[in-house]
């Protein structure tokens, strides 16, 4: 047992740290460190920088053009990016659909899609959720009817994060209504420029446009864009979800945000207040404990000795911590978080701030963070899963 990274791992971290310091644009990290609005261009600029280095798919094996890092290296890379204030990589391409294409896609699909994902050029979206099928994914209704060489897709997806920017979308669609709901689902890759696709914004309670509805009206999708076998999509979807590992805990971001919370608390004069400071101290312990749990998972993955089945716990705890630091930041801002001035959340705004500039996004971020215990399998669903494992029934 050893808490410390090996000299090799430390050298790797230093290398990453130096590269990020040299390559992460300062205007972008400024926005991240201050929770200011990130444009599509910001996100894509960083994706391309990573892509050029071959790191946009940082978890990919070498055979598909990835760096072939082990779990520790991946973790260190993620940590360095997060602490330096890099935007979160939009996961739908490199983290979600790519592993499915690698595992189940045809060589043609791999050749066609993986390079664009790695380079950061092609923006992918996710078409899983439907109205009426949130946590109960298997009850999805979007159907794809086979007509010769194409599927004709009709239906609606929702909660499509950043889908307004999407070039492609991967979708679970119903190709058969026989058997259990899980059977009869296929996994399609769909060009979002196809005729019949409409993307409609969903404005969330914080006033931002982050999620969308995607409507399919007789959209023709070539059969060659189906991944794997027809009606086996559920299997591939589960594979994808299994790839959401420790990063669902988002502990590296939490560490960065805790530092921000301390800065804000100090500026607002509550860092030395026993009551407020105690809340920060509690959160600090929560984050250390979460990080230790993440490290335990990584160690178990590395050694392969004993798997740790705590993914549900990481999701629950990670999301609670995200909500808590956003809540404490808002409480630190206090009365000055009342204004809702959207321009004040843009970098370089020339207007007069109300209170300190750091107050502008605090309430909106708090409101936005309510999603974290709902999406990605609500925390209630996660507790179902955890308890089934613990109780063995």
């Amino acid at each position: 047992m050893d808490l410390n990274f090996t000299p090799d791992e430390l050298a790797f971290r230093d290398e990453i740290r130096a590269w990020v310091a040299a390559n992460l644009p300062k205007d972008i990290s400024h926005k991240v460190h201050n929770a200011l609005h990130l444009s599509k261009e910001d996100m894509q600029r960083w994706a391309r920088i990573l892509g050029k280095q071959g790191w946009h798919g940082w978890a990919w094996p070498k055979q598909f053009g990835g760096p072939g890092w082990n779990v520790i290296q991946r973790h260190l890379f993620e940590e360095e990016c997060a602490l330096a204030g890099a935007p979160r990589v939009v996961p739908f391409g490199p983290v979600m659909v790519a592993p499915v294409i690698m595992a189940f896609g045809s060589p043609e699909q791999q050749a066609r899609h993986l390079p664009g994902i790695m380079s950061g050029e092609v923006w992918w979206s996710q078409g899983y959720s439907e109205p009426g099928a949130g946590s109960d994914l298997a009850s999805l209704k979007t159907r794809a009817e086979r007509r010769g060489d194409v599927y004709v897709v009709n239906g609606q997806k929702t909660w499509t994060t950043l889908g307004q920017h999407g070039d492609w979308i991967f979708c679970l669609v119903r190709t058969s209504s026989e058997g259990k709901p899980q059977t009869g689902i296929s996994f399609l890759l769909i060009d979002m420029k196809s005729p019949g696709i409409t993307v409609r914004p969903i404005i969330t309670l914080d006033g931002s446009h982050e999620v969308n509805e995607v409507w399919f009206d007789n959209v023709e999708v070539p059969v060659e864009n189906r991944v794997g076998e027809e009606n086996k999509g559920w299997t591939y979807a589960k594979h994808l979800l299994a790839h959401e590992r420790t990063n669902i805990a988002d502990v590296n971001r939490a560490k960065r945000e805790l530092e921000r919370l301390k800065r804000i608390a100090r500026a607002e004069g509550v860092y030395e207040d026993t009551r407020f400071r105690d809340e920060i101290a509690r959160l600090e312990v929560d984050i250390v404990a979460l990080e230790m749990m993440v490290l335990r998972v990584l160690s178990a993955e590395k050694s392969g000795k004993a798997a740790l089945d705590v993914a549900g716990l990481l999701k629950i705890r990670g999301s609670e911590i995200q909500q808590r630091y956003s809540e404490l930041m808002m409480l630190a801002g206090g009365p000055w978080t009342l204004p809702f001035i959207q321009e004040a959340m843009e970098a370089g705004w020339q207007g007069d701030h109300v209170g300190a500039a750091h107050c502008a996004p605090l309430a909106a971020t708090y409101f936005n963070m309510r999603k974290t215990t709902i999406y990605g399998g609500s925390n209630e669903v996660q507790r179902n899963i955890v308890s089934a494992t613990v109780l063995g029934s």
Binding site: S129, G132, G134, S135, D136, S139, T158, W159, I202, I203, T204, L205, G207, E268, G269, V270, D273, R275, F276, E279, M330, L331, G334, P335, W336, T337, L338, P339, F340, I341, D352, V354, G355, A363, A364, Y366, F367, N368, R370, K371, T373, I374, Y375, S378, N379, E380, R383
Partner: protein, 377 residues
């Protein structure tokens, strides 16, 4: 000991509720918020019901009602998610003006009562957080009047108001309890600059800058008056929060009974049922403490302050829990802008930050703790 409402109070409640049902749909509220949050017109409609003058003495054209009637109205406004500056314009302002010289009262209270003037408290200063005694704005006696210099922030409905009640210091250093006066400043006065903006809860607020602005003295010993008026405001937002929570809970119950997942109604899941039981608990605790707040407003200052801090602490805790859990129980729809529930949640959040958050109130309760405890302690 009696918690029944009188028939007159029930009629008052019905009147407000009818107005909401007829005239203040969520669609209207949402459109107003989208258009920048100006609600002076809405406030005017409430005035037509006589509500602007609810707490103004009859001698000045008001209804001369007490805290219970105010509570009834605020609860209904909360239930309807009405974002007009009612607590500030109709409850806090009369409480502040009650300490003014007779001629000032005679000049302003009738206008407050018919809403031809909207008068709001402008108290917030940078670095003061929720402390009322941390006043830096300076008051200078000049001739037979006063001029004020300083800045006040997040003034409720600040750019819709006609006048402000401004705490300013005529003596002492920023944290001194003594030397704080209360002044009335007209918006049109020279040296007054107002910068308005929309707020998270769909209304408006403003930054107020005073550069030698002419002011009328309300009271030289302003802090006790200010504390009382803020307690009136606390009782008002406590009642509003109860109305918000009551309605939000009902909306959530409807959702759970309607929405199906895994083939059955969400309300059939025991974990969600127990959550609703916890929501109901917080709602009823909040309602109990809202009553407590209103019924303790007439007590001597020390007992009143202790009670109002206890009440606001409970309401803050309940507002956060009920707001967060009702959003959570709705799932994705709960975090959308088009769904009314998310706006109830946002208003509840902002109420928590108004007149003191939980940490502040807990400090007030702790500082005022006695050996005995309870409602009558």
């Amino acid at each position: 000991m009696d918690f029944d409402f009188t028939d007159d109070q029930e009629s008052l409640r019905d009147a407000v509720r009818r107005w909401v049902d007829k005239g203040f749909s969520f669609e209207r509220r949402h459109a107003l918020a989208k258009a920048g949050g100006a609600t002076r017109a809405v406030y005017g409609e409430l005035a037509e019901l006589g509500l602007a003058g609810l707490a103004v003495p009859e001698a000045h054209g008001g209804m001369g009602f007490g805290p219970v009637e105010a509570m009834v109205v605020c609860e209904e406004l909360g239930r309807g998610l009405v974002n007009a500056p009612y607590v500030h314009g109709a409850l806090v302002a009369p409480a502040l003006l009650a300490a003014a010289p007779a001629e000032l009262q005679a000049a302003w209270l009738p206008k407050v009562a018919d809403a031809s003037a909207l008068v709001v408290l402008a108290a917030q200063e940078a670095g003061a957080r929720y402390r009322l005694d941390r006043v830096s704005t300076q008051a200078h006696a000049s001739g037979d009047g006063w001029t004020l210099t300083g800045a006040k922030g997040v003034v409720p409905a600040g750019d819709e108001a006609d006048a402000y009640v401004v705490p300013a210091r005529w003596s002492g250093t920023p944290d001194d309890a003594a030397g704080i006066g209360l002044f009335l400043v007209e918006r049109q006065a020279a040296g007054v600059t107002v910068r308005g903006y929309p707020t998270q809860d769909g209304a408006r607020a403003a930054e107020l800058s005073l550069a030698g602005a002419q002011a009328a003295l309300i009271s030289r010993d302003g802090l006790p008056v200010l504390e009382h008026a803020v307690d009136v405001g606390i009782a008002g937002v406590c009642a509003e929060a109860v109305g918000l929570m009551d309605r939000l809970t009902a909306m959530t119950v409807d959702y759970l009974n309607t929405r199906k997942q895994f083939g059955v109604a969400l309300s059939s899941f025991q974990a969600l049922r127990h959550r609703i039981a916890d929501v109901k608990m917080q709602l009823e605790l909040a309602r109990s403490m809202s009553y407590f707040a209103s019924l303790k407003l007439g007590e001597p200052a020390a007992a009143r302050r202790r009670a109002l801090a206890q009440a606001k602490y409970q309401i803050n805790q309940s507002a956060r829990f009920v707001g967060q859990q009702c959003v959570q129980l709705h799932g994705g729809i709960g975090v959308t802008d088009e769904y009314a529930g998310s706006h109830y949640f946002k208003r509840l959040t902002m109420i928590e930050l108004q007149f003191g958050d939980s940490m502040h109130q807990l400090g007030e309760v702790s500082a005022r703790m006695q050996d005995t405890a309870g409602v009558f302690a």
